[in-house]
Subunit: 361 residues, 2 copies
Amino acid sequence: MAELKNDRLLRALLRQDVDRTPVWIMRQAGRYLPEYRAIREQAGSFMGLATNPELACEVTLQPLRRFELDAAILFSDILTIPDAMGLGLHFVQGEGPKFERPVRDARAIDRLGVPDPGAELAYVTDAVRTIRKALDGDVPLIGFSGSPWTLATYMVEGGSSRSFGRVKTLLYEDPAAAHRLLDTLARAVIEYLNAQIEAGAQAVQVFDSWGGALSAEAFREFSLRYMAQIVDGLKREHEGRRVPVVLFSKGCNTQLEALAGTGADALGLDWTITLDEARGRVGDRVALQGNLDPAVLLARPEAIRAEADRVLESFGHGAGHVFNLGHGITPEVPPEHLGALLDQVHATSPRYHGRAPSPSD
Amino acid sequence: MAELKNDRLLRALLRQDVDRTPVWIMRQAGRYLPEYRAIREQAGSFMGLATNPELACEVTLQPLRRFELDAAILFSDILTIPDAMGLGLHFVQGEGPKFERPVRDARAIDRLGVPDPGAELAYVTDAVRTIRKALDGDVPLIGFSGSPWTLATYMVEGGSSRSFGRVKTLLYEDPAAAHRLLDTLARAVIEYLNAQIEAGAQAVQVFDSWGGALSAEAFREFSLRYMAQIVDGLKREHEGRRVPVVLFSKGCNTQLEALAGTGADALGLDWTITLDEARGRVGDRVALQGNLDPAVLLARPEAIRAEADRVLESFGHGAGHVFNLGHGITPEVPPEHLGALLDQVHATSPRYHGRAPSPSD
């Protein structure tokens, strides 16, 4: 593999010094880019794109051609594991992901097996290898998976949900079956992420997109616990480097201390907490990634620049910040607005690195 | 007015001793009740029901005929103020509330006036008087309003939203215009809630349903500030009793200390924080209301009882807890499940009141 020319992301995730704050954007390969929409149309369907390693590589690289980003992130979907388990993932226009065969009872849970990442999910590891080769060491590649709880919500509900009635009824009425489902998923995620790491992913992120739907107690029992199991089971070193693990539990800002206690290297943050407060709460146990409100990118560049500065200032001086949004970039964002954001992070962030500020600064 | 026979709610909201934890349920007059659905059908439309004081009174009382609840809550909608401002509220099946004339620019903001609660909103104060008479002092009546920020989201977006792109663009691009809109709304809410209090509402709640969509800084500037203005402007005593004010900012658990600093008597809590943690953070400054996950009511009664006990135990001993859900009851809940919940709160909660526990308890 080519030597890594820009290791800001990996260093910042490990709270090591950098010259400026690294930045990548959740869903940076996505619908706000016209060149993405063109390839997506050519592929015919979202999964047609995600399961084709060459096309997945192409869309992964698209934002890097336009923008100076410090990382690439594998183009894929969080629901590849349940699809590989045989649930029949498909996307319905305007309704998001659906499963043809949702998991509705304990018998269905007990029939689920851990997919072989080298077989049903080989398209993912093939994409990772293809992308790594194409990146040629320019920036690191981030791999990812959904969290067990988040995967379980889609598998039990059969798709997106607002109230999570079915999956929560499972948790409250048959917690033993819920734990079996979550344990199977945790083992599947471990194998899947380790396969991504072996194929070349240099950092991995677990998206716990629906952690915030759970009560504080249920979050610890049904989501946090399985993310901790994943962190424990991951290959943490590869190609002679530490492979950082990021946990992103959206809407779970009351749980930061517990998330920091899992052994993850970094936490993703949504925008409902200041980085200053989060840093005060987790101390030097983890790096922090985030947390600009994605809606800021709809406003004029002056407003975007001011809000970018506010996020940088809130984290303040020192190592351990990766600039990102607090959730994925939305399709309506004009690409030049993202350009304005990145320029500002590049311009302003160096002042927070280097020598520590003295009282006379 | 008839003397109040059950003042548990008012006492608990003021952190005064009670014999057992009072309980009411957000959206207790709602679609999970077949008798509600029957009247709703008879009224023809949601607003037809809300604007008819006799029918609004009838649906307000329905849950009290079935269940032993410690409060009635006015049947109305959070969007009555923008409707009275001339925005043309209507409900589209499956899509929720819509405005015919959304507020899209600074000129539209500057044209908005504060509605006269005795004119455009007289149907609300009429309903309050009708309900108070019908209640005959059995339990107190809670009045309510949407928060300025939450009202603004619907007014600018034209309806419900997922990403709040339009209203957030207003905040970031033209904060002065946003502040004028929010100030107008705060003044309207003050007049509206004071009119409800004068008509007989014995406690009032401000629903900041979308406070959690804002960044931590934007929440303080665009939501919290206007709720504090409302708390300052409310009539806090009527009929010789204190009228408690409850603020419910959903998804804002990083902001509890700031919310407690507004001068409100109590905070509503969603289920993503334990009452124990929240109580530790706000101390004895405010009472707490909540916070069972509404989805628990879909599970079997045994599970409901266990989770009810967990909520009571989390708050623990002493005054200042009003049992409620962390959000509204959903239409799918079998009414007998709510009965099981209420029975459990009645049975278990007395142990947390009365004399303080001694080390030998």
